[in-house]
């Protein structure tokens, strides 16, 4: 008798487990279906188009598959744009880090009341419309804008920054700075400050304590913030389109121009695939190396 029960039980458990699995699957299904239709299939179409041929009228000919679009990725113009985008994204990330770290440190070391007020002050630009915030710099940097007027009022030259790389850099730093501040703040606020105190008790100077204790403990925040700034900067389109000029083309606006102006869908698709691979690589590196050390982001 007892044996029968003992045999029956694993089967029941197995059936219950399977029913549970089916239920989970059914709940997941609608979003799965939606993302397959409106994300996975579109992704596949871009991949397929990148091997197609552009006709002389700008139509895409499917069926005549080749690697021509990928070969063009090594053109000097494309390499130059890719290099410029990469450098700009790295510089933007670095400047954001240099501005945001002391700010996040300052915020995390305030009283809770002050801390929350400062946090709201960071959240407001974060939630504000990105387009509007970028446009504000177009107003500021214009040839008769406040920056130029101020310089002239002080007896200087009119400043022409608009449509230069500098303008794009300012716009990117301004646009993405909150993305750096918030994860850094989260990491520093959660940190056990008793460890810093312990280091000081053991006669570590302020700088040594920071270098040996605070900085390593805040590294997950540094990485999360860097990835949150670096990745969208690589694909930035709005900022260069508004603040940049003809000589400051970045990868994002170059891809857009392939679809809306040059009508070269295969080449645009190949560029998109290339950009996507770089992003995925950066993200995978991040998850592999830094994810286990903290749940930040």
């Amino acid at each position: 008798m007892n044996d029968e029960v003992a045999v029956a039980r694993p089967e029941l458990e197995e059936a219950a487990r399977r029913a549970e699995s089916r239920r989970g699957f059914l709940i997941a299904l609608p979003a799965w279906f939606y993302l397959t239709l409106f994300f996975v299939i579109p992704l596949g179409i871009v991949a397929v188009y990148s091997f197609a041929t552009r006709s002389s009228t700008g139509r895409t000919i499917l069926g005549d598959w080749n690697l021509n679009a990928y070969r063009r990725l090594w053109d000097s113009l494309v390499v130059e744009i890719a290099a410029r985008t990469l450098v700009l994204a790295l510089v933007t990330t670095l400047i954001c880090l240099l501005l945001a770290y002391p700010l996040a440190y300052y915020m995390a070391t305030r009283r809770p009341m002050v801390r929350n007020i400062l946090l709201i002050l960071v959240m407001i630009p974060f939630w504000s419309n990105f387009l509007v915030r970028t446009y504000a710099w177009k107003v500021l940097l214009g040839s008769d804008g406040p920056v130029s007027q101020l310089s002239q009022a002080l007896g200087g030259e009119p400043i022409r920054l608009l449509f230069t790389n500098t303008a794009v850099l300012i716009g990117l730093v301004y646009g993405f700075l909150p993305f750096m501040v918030l994860p850094l703040y989260a990491a520093l606020e959660r940190m056990d400050w008793g460890l810093v105190e312990a280091a000081r008790d053991l006669y570590a100077g302020g700088w040594t304590a920071f270098r040996k204790v605070t900085w390593p403990l805040s590294l997950p925040g540094v990485m999360a913030g860097s990835i949150l700034v670096f990745i969208p900067t690589l694909g930035a389109y709005v900022t260069p389109a508004i603040l940049g000029g003809a000589k400051t083309t970045l990868a994002g606006d170059y891809i857009v121009s392939q679809f809306l102006a040059a009508r070269n869908q295969p080449f645009g698709s190949a560029l998109s695939m290339g950009m996507m691979l770089i992003m995925l690589a950066a993200t995978i590196v991040y998850f592999r190396w830094f994810r286990p050390s903290g749940r930040d982001l």
Partner: protein, 285 residues
């Protein structure tokens, strides 16, 4: 407060930190302030201040193109927020509370729309709709066009993931024993969800919905690609104007959009009193 242990109050390092912080805040707010001030300028020329006036705000609310774009934006935002909140919440529940086959893959798939550059997603959806419409036309003779429908479908596609991330965070903080307690008291799976889980994750669901709403109202790149004639949203319309130049009218529209963002922030803080559970930032711009 042990948190000040790292630095002594009023030390030079401390003063340097404070100065840097206030400079960064000035950097955050100065451009916005300039924009607001200039939006009240009566002059046709943006750079020359004459006198304060509400002229441009009157013009904004009489501009048919702006009003039409605003209406489109609100329709798209409403549709995509509701749909993505439902789909995203379901996905979050499935991932946090169930074990099923293909879960790892599903998890990764949900992160992709967040990681992928906006430009790439725009390209993907443009080609997809163009190809799909061609196919529908040749198979069943139905030829839909680009418009509010394609914009809404696209916004749902990127919003689902963001809602899922926010709701999952909330579910992760919730004590699963509460659901077990409900089950022990003979609540069905559905009753336990309805009476216990849903009320507890509601701040997360509302936070996710708010994020979806904001992203939908802000999106330029993807909408620009999948919009049809006569179906531009407000940001796409403003983007077109901005590329041509700087005008007092854009200043006024911009300030209206900023005020709308601020209201959303205020609402989001109202939802989530507990600062620890506040909606974490996203990487979309």
């Amino acid at each position: 407060m042990s948190v000040t242990a790292g630095i002594r109050p009023k030390s030079p390092a401390e003063r340097l930190l404070a100065t840097n912080s206030w400079l960064v805040f000035a950097f955050f707010y100065a451009p916005i302030l300039v924009l607001v001030v200039f939006s009240f300028n009566a002059n046709d020329n943006v750079g020359i201040w004459t006198e304060p006036s509400l002229r441009w705000y009157r013009e904004v609310f009489q501009d048919q193109a702006v009003l039409n774009a605003l209406k489109n934006s609100l329709i798209v935002a409403a549709i995509s927020t509701v749909a993505s909140t439902i789909l995203g919440t379901m996905a979050a529940l499935a991932l946090e509370r169930f074990r099923f086959r293909g879960q790892k893959f599903y998890d990764g798939l949900l992160y992709l729309p967040i990681i992928i550059p906006e430009v790439t997603m725009a390209v993907m959806l443009l080609l997809f709709f163009a190809q799909g419409f061609q196919w529908l036309d040749s198979t069943i003779g139905w030829s839909p066009t680009f418009g509010l429908g394609t914009i809404s479908l696209s916004h749902i596609a990127f919003n689902i993931s963001f809602v899922t991330v926010v709701v999952r965070a909330r579910l992760g903080q919730m004590d699963p024993r509460l659901e077990e307690a409900a089950a022990d008291l003979y609540a069905s799976r559905w009753q336990a969800f309805r009476r216990v889980t849903l009320p507890l994750i509601m701040p997360g669901v509302l936070g996710g919905a708010l994020l979806a709403l904001t992203l939908s109202l802000d999106d330029v790149v993807i909408t620009n690609f999948v919009a049809g004639p006569g179906s531009t949203t407000l940001p796409v319309y403003v983007f077109g104007l901005v590329r041509r130049g700087v005008t007092p009218l854009i200043n006024a529209v911009s300030v209206v959009m900023l005020v709308a963002s601020m209201i959303l922030v205020a609402v989001s803080f109202g939802f989530q009193r507990d600062p620890k559970s506040r909606v974490e930032p996203s990487s979309r711009s």
